[in-house]
């Protein structure tokens, strides 16, 4: 939505723009890529962007696992949703960086950790590529059309607030992020028909059970906290957890949540008949 709204705002300013997402089969909250190209003339390229002028990161937990600025042009800029100042953010190289705590703004104004409109305000402030007024218009139109005028207004306000709170500076360049290893077999190596049994490669496990390495705690904005005194052990949370992260500890008659795999969806808290589960911020 952020990439599309930005494209729409750019077009409204008389430019040409394209925006498109790239994602896997995961549900909302999983890391996704989205691209926006803006030019004064028609854009023909239909490929992904590999050397961007600007990288926008909506979730700073990605900074620990992915070199988000790997392809960024030397004069390019990173815009990051973070409570930190630019100089406290280590991107592995010193580059122009802007930060804003978009999650807090979203929670404050939208009452939900949906940061895509707030982060656009930071983009307008940091790059000057688009005017904040154009963004506000596009947000009101795009979100208003789908979710009602009030939601449109609030999202525009989130963008405006982020615009005002954005801090620009330069990142630190100390840490060395290793390129993420990926299992990329040749057509001769890939098992016949793609059938997999449990296996181990240089890039990690493959086949059944390999998702144990796929820790998703970074996705979570909230995590469930259970009040043992209130809990009646009805097991509805255990039953409903879509990820199977709630385990029964049989010898103690208790439950335990494995936060490595909890995506913070809140289904457990929603289902709990005695309100024993509260969702609390996973990161400030």
């Amino acid at each position: 939505m952020a990439a599309q709204t930005l494209a729409e705002a750019a077009v409204n300013e008389g430019n040409y723009a394209v925006a498109f997402p790239f994602f896997g089969a995961e549900r909302r909250g999983a890391p996704v890529l989205a691209f926006t190209r803006i030019d004064s003339k028609k854009i023909f390229s239909k490929t992904q962007v590999y050397a961007p002028d600007c990288v926008v990161v909506l979730d700073d937990s990605l900074l620990d696992t992915i070199d988000v600025v790997a392809g960024l042009k030397p004069q390019g800029m990173a815009i990051i949703n973070s409570k930190e100042k630019p100089e406290d953010i280590d991107l592995g190289k010193i580059i122009k960086t802007a930060t804003v705590n978009a999650t807090s703004i979203a929670l404050e104004i939208l009452k939900a950790p949906i940061t895509n409109t707030a982060i656009l305000g930071a983009f307008a402030k940091a790059t000057g590529i688009i005017r904040i007024e154009s963004l506000e218009e596009s947000i009101k139109e795009k979100f208003g059309e789908k979710l009602g005028a009030k939601v449109g207004e609030r999202n525009a306000l989130a963008a405006r607030t982020a615009y005002e709170r954005t801090i620009t500076g330069k990142s630190r360049g100390v840490k060395k992020l290793e390129a993420r290893k990926q299992w990329l077999p040749t057509h001769q190596e890939i098992p016949v028909g793609g059938a997999l049994i449990e296996g181990k490669t240089d890039a990690g496990l493959i086949g059944p059970g390999s998702f144990i390495e796929n820790k998703v705690s970074g996705w979570a904005t909230y995590r469930p906290l259970r009040d043992r005194a209130k809990c009646t052990m009805c097991l509805l949370c255990w039953f409903y957890c879509p990820e199977g992260t709630i385990h029964r500890i049989s010898d103690r008659g208790d439950l335990m949540t494995n936060y490595d795999y909890c995506k913070g969806c809140g289904v457990c808290a929603n289902e709990c008949p005695v309100d024993a589960i509260k969702m609390v911020r996973a990161r400030a």
């Binding site: 016949v192 793609g194 059938a195 049994i197 086949g207």
Partner: protein
């Protein structure tokens, strides 16, 4: 043992001799007799198989793929609209490398609805990853079910195979068929032993979601299996010929091609009729011959090139139309022979199940010979079609 049986009966006996273990089934004319015979075999205790009556052809192929992934030898049969209905699942079976064998009784795919022989049903599945072959008589129908399992389950291939037999012209026609002994077939076709199957004791992932990082390599791998299949088909044909005394030629078969100057590429039962036409023309001293296209997938480009290298003109029979000129066989042949300076003429006939007569086949040779003599002819002829000149 000689038996006078229909093509459908021959196919069913072929499946029984292969000791198929799972048969998901849904009836459709003119294939129904196949699954009815198999149901009888299972009911009478002659065949130890799970016979599953499904609610649709889409379910048939879903069950077939799943049973094959679980390690079973799977056979089924379909036709026309049934094949179309399972189209989606055809694409699930082949790239997952599940060696299902399914007979297709060639029948016109409507609309308008019809039940007689045309190849527009199976031609629509030509890029689904299934091997496809077309048989000429009931003996070949039975024999090719047996060979199909050998080809499908060969570790160099591991692809589903679709033997096609002409609807009614074979399915409902009786002729003598030599039924092999069970022991002979057992020594030719060993039990299916896949490397990876769906088994809770040894978990496996088959057919799970795959991102773009893998699908291209998998397609390339499947394309490689099609190449390997060509060699495997020839090898198994020779082995079969040695054991059972019937040599079908492998990917293609030829008749009177040694000194032919004009040839016709045929498929299915038209090959059979064309043999008599060739005999007749040969008596008149005309140097004509037939190339029987047995396998349409993999397409025997190399074998065709070799077979036509000394001829002056080539006719191509097609029993379906690809709506940009000629039929699908014609277009494949032309691209296979690219660079060879042989005129290639397309003969469309028998569409919708219209009978293909010796007279029509004569005409096909006559027109092709004209091209061989350098006379001006059309690229595509619609035979026995009102409003057309031939």
């Amino acid at each position: 043992m000689k038996k006078v049986i229909t093509g459908d009966h021959a196919v069913a006996i072929g499946a029984k001799l292969c000791r198929v273990e799972v048969v998901p089934a849904f009836p459709i004319t003119p294939q129904t007799l196949i699954i009815e015979h198999i149901a009888d075999f299972v009911n009478d205790g002659e065949l130890d198989a799970k016979f599953l009556t499904m609610e649709s052809e889409h379910s048939v192929m879903s069950a077939a793929a799943a049973a094959s992934a679980a390690g079973a030898r799977v056979f089924t049969a379909t036709s026309s609209q049934g094949l179309a209905f399972m189209h989606e699942m055809l694409y699930a079976t082949a790239p997952l490398r599940l060696p299902v064998v399914m007979a297709n009784a060639s029948r016109t795919l409507g609309g308008p609805p019809g039940i007689w022989c045309e190849y527009n049903d199976s031609m629509g599945a030509r890029d689904s990853g299934w091997l496809q072959l077309y048989v000429e008589d009931n003996q070949e129908a039975l024999d090719m079910v047996i060979q199909s399992f050998r080809i499908a389950e060969d570790k160099r291939v591991l692809l589903p195979v679709m033997p096609c037999l002409d609807g009614f012209v074979l399915t409902h026609t009786v002729e003598p068929v030599d039924v092999p002994e069970q022991a002979e077939v057992d020594s030719f076709l060993l039990p299916y032993e896949p490397d990876i199957i769906l088994d809770p004791k040894r978990p496996a992932m088959i057919g799970t979601f795959m991102p773009s990082e893998y699908i291209m390599e998998l397609r390339r791998q499947t394309a490689g299996a099609f190449e390997s299949a060509k060699e495997v088909i020839q090898q198994i044909n020779s082995e079969f010929a040695q054991k059972f005394g019937r040599d079908y030629g492998g990917l293609i078969d030829t008749y009177m091609m040694e000194d032919a100057s004009t040839a016709l590429i045929t498929m299915g039962t038209v090959t059979s009729t064309a043999r008599e036409v060739v005999d007749e023309l040969r008596q008149k001293g005309e140097k004509v011959g037939i190339i029987k296209l047995r396998f349409f997938r993999p397409f025997p480009s190399y074998e065709l090139k070799k077979a036509v290298s000394y001829i002056n003109a080539l006719g191509v029979f097609d029993r379906s139309i690809s709506y940009h000129g000629g039929g699908p066989v014609y277009n494949e042949v032309r691209s296979s022979l690219f660079g060879m300076k042989i005129p290639v003429i397309n003969h469309l006939a028998g569409i919708g199940g219209r009978d293909v007569t010796t007279k029509q086949i004569m005409k096909m040779f006559e027109l092709t010979q004209k091209a061989a003599n350098g006379e001006k002819v059309s690229d595509v002829y619609w035979h026995n079609t009102r409003g057309e000149t031939v």
